[in-house]
């Protein structure tokens, strides 16, 4: 087979997106939906078909030139390797299921063509990030997912808050993007190429300070997309979008793009110990921050959003600890169970009649479809890291990798990771209890869910539960398939004695049980939620929005006012108007000379004549 056919993987969703955007509203609804789903499903099948291409060093595919920069031409090129292949498979697979779910979820939506068009476009952009051979194509995808995220968060644009949330997401992520762009410019200036493999190969020759600076720039770029500190404020608001969007973009794929970027450039990043430490610190702090916030949230999707942020923080921590395999492992399992959780949450909201507030839910175990409970529970167990689930193994791997680093900093981070694990168990089971236990507190009328909203949950929940098989540690008889698959890309090898591994696994299990016990004690019976200052602080995400508003938005607006009104109108325009007024005043004074009478002009004429005459006389005398 021709390797250029690899381009079909991203281009099929793109083609379907374009078709849907242009003609979607004129096609029968079923055709538009089929087009959207089949485009993504086809790329999933193609990924399976091309799986072999990822062996060894992977396969390059060149479509054509894009941008000639001097003598160098930056092409549209793909690189399908061991890192990209599982990611591609995950993106297309999860996306296919979410598309199916979306067909059911958006059943009553009038503007379906725009929705599916954008969703397909998102898949294309995400695949561009995943498969990019050079940073510019990656940047194309990077901005593309931002755009789709923007447009889909604000999908229900009639409500201004939704559109505003989209704008916020776009702007905050774009702040991250400029750091990525800076890194891109710098790398191009250093190496004269943007090809990722070439950059990784030459990274060793950079000065240490340059490496650290580049790593920090890349980290900040990744933070924007992955909603890590300090660019995390947009993710919770992004839940304004339709639930399939939250599941696909803000849980499974786009928010992990930052992790993927760091993994892609890991050979470069890993050369800078300071940079690695920074990544780990950012990851750990975000994990803790988001977990605390999740404790106090009242909207089901916001709880999940903060949990996503927290889990992505774990992935950053893994990268910082040098374990690409651990990060990718958690990325994959997280994608599965978080997508399942979000889709189940969508069903729950649907059943509750559009009610978002978990304090007004409850009793769904008795009255809702039992199927939903099991799926949600499966997702929750994975999220909490209950033993033997996918989330358990992947999170455990990360904590092990951090612990084995051994430095005081990493030990502290490991402590934060453990604390976060405990908090995760607490808020996850809080969610489960509040939603499912007890008696109904809302006005939802239980009814049947469309088949398409129920069926896609199962494979994801199962994948989440069994995700551990992907990278089962030798401790329990596994072969670490993913680590072997990644080969040289897997990052640092983790060496730890069995006793330590057992001890850590036991500790993790203990924390989960502790968290579950606390949640059961506190939320087993609904006792209402009294609001105090601390919970309010956490509900507002540590008042980060207010801080950003104070530090950035207000100065920006003030500066805008200064420029538009202070400078342009008061300074430049006023100066010019003043000049014009002075000129007019001069003219007013001079107009007194023109009396309009012949005699005045004649007198002037004679005086002028006399002056000229006098001048001649003077010249004559000289």
């Amino acid at each position: 087979m021709n390797q250029t056919l690899l381009f079909l993987i991203p281009l099929l969703p793109l083609a379907c997106a374009v078709l849907n955007m242009l003609f979607g509203m004129r096609l029968p609804r079923l055709v538009a939906e089929t087009l959207a789903v089949s485009g993504v499903a086809a790329s999933f099948l193609l990924t399976l078909l091309f799986w072999g291409y990822a062996d060894g060093a992977g396969t390059h595919a060149l479509l054509g030139t894009w941008l000639p920069v001097g003598d160098i031409t930056i092409p549209f090129a793909l690189h399908f390797d061991a890192l990209a292949a599982p990611m591609t498979l995950m993106v297309t697979g999860v996306a296919t299921l979410i598309h199916l779910y979306a067909v059911g979820y958006m059943h009553d939506e009038e503007d379906y063509a725009r929705f599916f068009g954008l969703l397909n476009l998102f898949v294309f952009a995400m695949l561009a990030i995943v498969l990019a051979d050079n940073l510019l194509v990656l940047f194309l995808g990077w901005e593309g997912v931002g755009l789709c995220s923007y447009a889909l968060i604000g999908f229900w644009y009639q409500k201004s808050e939704n559109a505003r949330a989209g704008t916020k997401a776009f702007l905050v992520t774009r702040v991250g993007d400029i750091f990525l762009a800076a890194a891109l410019l710098w790398l191009f200036a250093l190496t004269g190429t943007l090809e990722i493999a070439a950059i990784n190969a030459r990274a060793a020759s950079f000065a240490p300070e340059v490496l650290t600076a580049l790593t920090v720039l890349l980290l900040l770029g990744a933070c924007g997309k992955s909603a890590q500190l300090p660019l995390m404020t947009w993710l919770a608001d992004a839940m304004a979008g339709p639930t399939p969007v939250s599941a696909l973009i803000h849980a499974a794929t786009m928010v992990t793009a930052g992790v993927y970027l760091l993994c892609r450039l890991f050979p470069l990043v890993s050369l800078s110990p300071d940079g690695m430490a920074a990544i780990a610190v950012v990851g750990a702090l975000t994990a803790l921050y988001a977990a605390t916030c999740a404790l106090a949230q009242r909207e089901i999707k916001r709880v999940l959003a903060y949990s996503t942020m927290s889990q992505v923080g774990y992935m950053f921590l893994a990268v910082g600890a040098g374990s690409v395999a651990g990060a990718m492992f958690h990325l994959l399992t997280h994608a599965f169970f978080k997508a399942a959780l979000f889709m189940a949450a969508g069903c729950i909201i649907h059943l509750a009649g559009g009610e978002n507030d978990i304090l007004r839910m409850g009793g769904l175990f008795k009255r809702g479809p039992r199927e939903l409970f099991w799926v949600f529970l499966a997702g929750a167990l994975c999220l909490a890291g209950a033993p033997l689930t996918g989330g358990f193994f992947s999170k455990d791997g990360i904590l092990l990798a951090v612990y084995t680093q051994g430095t005081p900093l990493f030990l502290a981070l490991w402590g934060i990771g453990l604390l976060t694990a405990l908090l995760t168990a607490v808020y996850t089971f809080r969610l489960v209890y509040l939603v499912f236990a007890g008696e109904p507190r809302g006005h939802g009328h239980p009814h049947d869910l469309p088949l398409l909203m129920r069926r896609p949950l199962w494979p994801l929940a199962l994948l989440g539960l069994c995700g551990g098989l992907l990278n089962l540690p030798p401790l329990v008889g596994g072969h670490e398939w993913l680590t072997h698959r990644l080969g040289t890309l897997a990052g640092r090898e983790i060496l730890a004695g069995h006793s330590i591994e057992w001890a850590l696994a036991g500790l993790a299990t203990g924390l989960v049980i502790l968290g579950w016990g606390f949640a059961r004690w506190r939320y087993g019976q609904f006792r209402g939620e009294q609001e105090n200052r601390a919970s309010r602080f956490l509900l507002l995400g540590w008042r980060a929005d207010a801080l950003v508003d104070l530090l950035f938005v207000r100065p920006f607006t003030a500066m805008a006012g200064l420029c538009a009104i202070g400078c342009d109108r008061a300074l430049v325009d006023a100066t010019l108007d003043g000049l014009a007024r002075q000129t007019t005043a001069c003219g007013e004074r001079l107009r007194g000379l023109t009396t309009g009478r012949v005699s005045t002009y004649l007198a002037g004429f004679v005086w002028g004549f006399l002056i000229i005459l006098g001048w001649f006389l003077l010249a004559l005398v000289k």
Binding site: G596, R597, S599, A603
Partner: protein, 101 residues
Amino acid sequence: MIVPFAHVLIFAAILFTMGLGCVLARRNLIMILIGVEIMLNAAAVALVGGSAYWRQVDGQVFVVFLMAMTSAEVAISLAMVVYLRRRRGTLEADRFDGLRG
């Protein structure tokens, strides 16, 4: 030449000055026009004198052109005087200040 050329020029200059004085001092449009006529004649004197001095006929030819021009000018300006008298009822030059800025 019967007299020194300078005397002719002085004569023309005095005449011219008189015309100029008339133009400047008088406010009646007719008198201003008369002043202009005097000035033109002063020029004619200088031209004829020059013609005699250099023994060239050209000076006299120019006097003829000057006369033709004068008649054109007088024709127009007198027509305007009539027009203004009809429109404004006065010939005081200072009453006409349509050009005032």
